[in-house]
């Protein structure tokens, strides 16, 4: 039996795999709508030790958890993600700064 709930700190840092089996990266955080307490999107961090890191907004519904793999799987490829918006590592974007408008759309769909 699977549990209907999942703790936020368990989602964070979970690995994410693409449709073709490649590891895209890990979930970095969830962006929540303050008013409703609903996940607007997850932020998936790509890239390895020396690679350039991208931060992709991914809708919650696109992330399917595979219990055996202990990872999220997406019906998307890295190319699909790259064709959408992303934040590049090293940009001076302050995730916690509420005075700035977040440049990703709130409900981003692939």
């Amino acid at each position: 039996m699977t549990h209907p709930l999942v703790p936020s700190d368990r989602v964070e840092a979970a690995p994410v795999y693409s449709r073709d089996g490649a590891k895209i990266g890990t979930i970095e955080r969830l962006m929540l709508e303050k008013a409703t307490g609903t996940v607007a999107y997850a932020v998936v961090k790509s890239g390895g030790f020396l690679a350039e890191r991208h931060h992709y907004p991914v809708p919650w519904s696109a992330l399917k958890y595979n219990v055996a793999r202990r990872a999220y799987e997406m019906d998307l490829t890295v190319e699909d993600l790259r064709s959408g918006p992303s934040e590049l590592d090293g940009e001076t974007f302050d995730w916690g700064d509420r005075s700035r408008t977040y440049r990703h759309p709130q409900y981003w769909t692939v």
Copy 2:
């Protein structure tokens, strides 16, 4: 201007104050409904260094963020929380174990 979104890792560890101004504790994590990506409740951890720690499920709507204070405020007292369900620190409850039924109600209201 306040931003409509908040990152999950910013919510986690935020202080929580009661109606009478007392510090209840901090937000420990959020429990999310897998199906919808909605916060079922936040877990507020009470207690200090030597005190017994309780983990209280608190509905998202009961937590109001005070920007100046950088903390969440509740229209509840510690006594209100104590009259509801809680998990005591030291219990061998595995938050990540999906095979167990979580003993708090999913939508707990004070």
